[in-house]
Symmetry: C2
Subunit: 178 residues, 2 copies
């Protein structure tokens, strides 16, 4: 994994792909599947929803740290299966053959098999009790720039997913941001 400038990390969240979220609570690493997340600013600040029914909710509340890892379409079946079992009963890294790598600024692990990883700290849990909503700050980001498969995928609900298709470059029309 090569360092990715933090200023580029928002680009992996903005398209709204299904992601993995890792935590490490009491030295036990865990990973969940997440598709409710969004950019909040370019720092990046990122908001996400982790249900209080999920094993990761408590880990996030207690440690205030996580990693958002970006899987590509070759991992889709694993990613769906990770979202269909609980870290309470399963060592998911072992079960799904994922390789945890040490992060630099947080205890939660990076995932070697993913395209990108964003180390995050919880900076605001004001709405966690009411809506399960956390505000995270990305503090370090990584990319596997040698990976050939770069297509991510998006959840449409009820087990239906859509894979990234054609790319369209409309840079020239972005006159407000130049």
């Amino acid at each position: 994994m090569k360092e990715l400038p933090l200023s580029k990390a928002f680009q992996f969240i903005e398209p709204g792909p299904v992601v993995l979220l890792t935590t490490s609570y009491k030295d036990k690493p865990n990973v969940m599947t997440m598709s409710w997340h969004m950019d909040v600013d370019f720092t990046p600040l990122i908001a996400c929803v982790v249900s209080n029914g999920d094993y990761s909710f408590n880990a996030l509340m207690k440690t205030k740290e996580c990693v958002i890892a970006i899987p590509t379409v070759d991992l889709i079946k694993k990613v769906v299966d990770i979202g269909n079992c609980s870290g309470e009963k399963t060592d998911k890294f072992k079960t799904f053959g994922l390789t945890p790598l040490s992060a630099k600024n947080v205890k939660a692990p990076l995932i070697k098999e993913c395209l990108a990883n964003i180390e995050c700290r919880v900076v605001d849990a004001t709405l966690a009790d009411k809506y399960n909503l956390f505000i995270l700050e990305g503090v370090k980001a990584w990319i596997d720039d040698k990976r050939k498969e770069k297509r991510t995928f998006h959840a449409k609900g009820d087990g239906i997913f859509v894979v990234d298709g054609r790319t369209i470059d409309l840079k020239k029309r972005m006159i407000k941001w130049q």
Copy 2:
């Protein structure tokens, strides 16, 4: 536009497409382009970020109402251009040839040319001052089910967009949700 059950509305937000957000403040309809949004629950509750530099921020704060409209790829150039000018100076519905339709429960208009429309009320603005983050509740939803083009598109930052590609059905693996 045909009524869409509210329980299905989250499916248009979860994949993370670029959307349009309409408001109506002092009887003046406006529309902005948005790609920072996420589901918060299946009601649906939806979170979104509308910059306080955007003309729509004030409209949203004052009226507490909006519509999230889902454009498809045939509208991509218009959608980008809508995001590159301000409602302060431009009548965007007129300029971009969009047809406002009356919503049922809010004053903000639906957009006829879009695949789906979700009428929303702001139910929580606790984090609006600090992060420009609003919690919306979908109160009515609509779909144009006769539309052939259903592919949405996603922002990757810096004027690059990715269009929906192949659909993958993994319903059988969703054992936790059956």
